[in-house]
Amino acid sequence: MASRNLKRTKALCLRYLDPNRPWTGADDRELRELVRTHAECSDWYNRSVSIHRSLVGASPGLPSAFERERMLLATMDAVSRAESQRAHFGLRWVVPLLVAGAVGIVVISTQRNVPENAPALAPIDSDYFGARGSGAADAIGVGVGITGVTESNQAYEVTASETSLYLDDYLRITLSRTADEYPFVFVFGVQPDRQPVWYEPDPEHGGLSSVSVSKGEAIPLGGSGDPIEFKLSGRHVTGALTVFALFSQKPLLQSDVARMLSTLPPTASADTLTAEMYETLAPAAGTFIVTSVSSVIRGGRREAAQ
């Protein structure tokens, strides 16, 4: 009977070699540790990667390009976590000072770089779970919306009256742009106490900066013909989800956005995040506006029905 370590190694190897599943620094650390310390796990790893390399036609002695990308991502993830921990350690000492001025910062910074005709942002705080924006462009000329798509390809718009997504469904993100001054967009999701989910650009797929966004109403990421849908169970958990779309005149670097987020507490509210984005990212972005839509992810549909 396979030992617990071997079972875990098998599961991790399956995940490691599966292009549809994410691979984190923690996964990589765990797998390497098991392989380093247990001969049976090492044997399994050697066999699994040898098969993978032969299947795809790569050199058997070295990681395939696919494995190399997994290894690179895991390294980046580990560095990012280390930097984030260092930043949070530093924040422990300055937070009490910053809290006193926080309200002022929010009020001032949310107005920065926003056109004069821009409407005030709707108030959102950590208790706000309603969806904002159906993806239609409003007076500011840009908008973001989200749609849930079931396994059987039935789409349901997430609106104020129906705010839930289900973990076993897919997420479709729609963007609208009528204004000329925001040709680029950067889209990511935030859940409390979790690492950001990068939708577009996605560093796991080579995306390093904002992507160009076509003019039009409620156009899904990936285009209307082939919309990109994100399996919610892949990189999300149940709970609040806020999807941010940062429209800008110049493309934003993914590393800049990641660094900005890493300096904030993992439970920061959407308000705080929005304020920090204007404060930190606007100088590099040229004309810049932050839009967001919030919802709640519930467990599987089968569980919900019971």
Partner: protein, 195 residues
């Protein structure tokens, strides 16, 4: 990389690397990856390199983890070639790995030729029949686009965007094809009783 040295010659990348910018770390990983693999596969001094994938991959990850630590990033002076600096880190990491373990043989011989190690490595973990079976998988892929994506994505490491552009299809189609290929590989292995 014999003439130029990215981190020594490119001040912008060097500064971004020292700050820990993701794009710069990614670039450094890609550019210096061949150097690191040379150290772990061919060795140095009396060490002839790691033999199996588990040890090689572990060493590669451990070397980059050490090189990307903030202290190590800041210690690089920007004047000497980074290749020499990274080689020093790599050798220290490998020495620590060897000290922790006793299963690696040290010899004073010359490094083996790489193609010989490669063939032996594959044969050690898969029996001859299994090697034949997995190598035959690619012959089952008839669709030209799928064959191209198998090679571009899994072997050459091209980004999805690049593949999509080269093939004149959408990125979503590329993703779908990668998923399809993955499913076909798993089904193929199952059919042949391989894990």
């Amino acid at each position: 990389m014999t003439d130029g040295d990215l981190l020594r010659d490119d001040a912008r990348t060097r500064e971004a690397f020292k700050r820990g910018d993701r794009w710069a770390l990614t670039e450094v990983y890609r550019v210096y990856y061949p150097l690191v693999t040379t150290v772990v596969t061919r060795g140095f001094g009396g060490f002839r390199g790691f033999f199996n994938p588990a040890d090689r991959d572990d060493a590669i990850q451990s070397i980059f983890a050490a090189a990307f630590e903030q202290k190590a990033r800041l210690r690089y002076n920007g004047l000497d070639p980074y290749t020499a600096f990274l080689r020093g880190i790599a050798q220290n990491v490998v020495r620590r790995m060897l000290e922790r373990r006793t299963k690696f043989m040290r010899t004073d011989g010359q490094p083996e030729l790489e193609h010989k190690e490669v063939e032996t490595a594959e044969a050690q973990f898969l029996d001859a029949e299994a090697i034949q079976v997995v190598r035959a998988f690619r012959e089952t892929i008839q669709e030209p686009v799928q064959r191209q994506i198998l090679a571009s994505y899994f072997v050459d490491g091209d980004a999805e965007e690049t593949i999509a552009k080269d093939l004149g299809i959408t990125r979503y189609k590329v993703r779908k094809t990668i998923s399809l290929l993955d499913r076909r590989m798993r089904r193929y292995l199952k059919q042949h009783g391989l894990p």
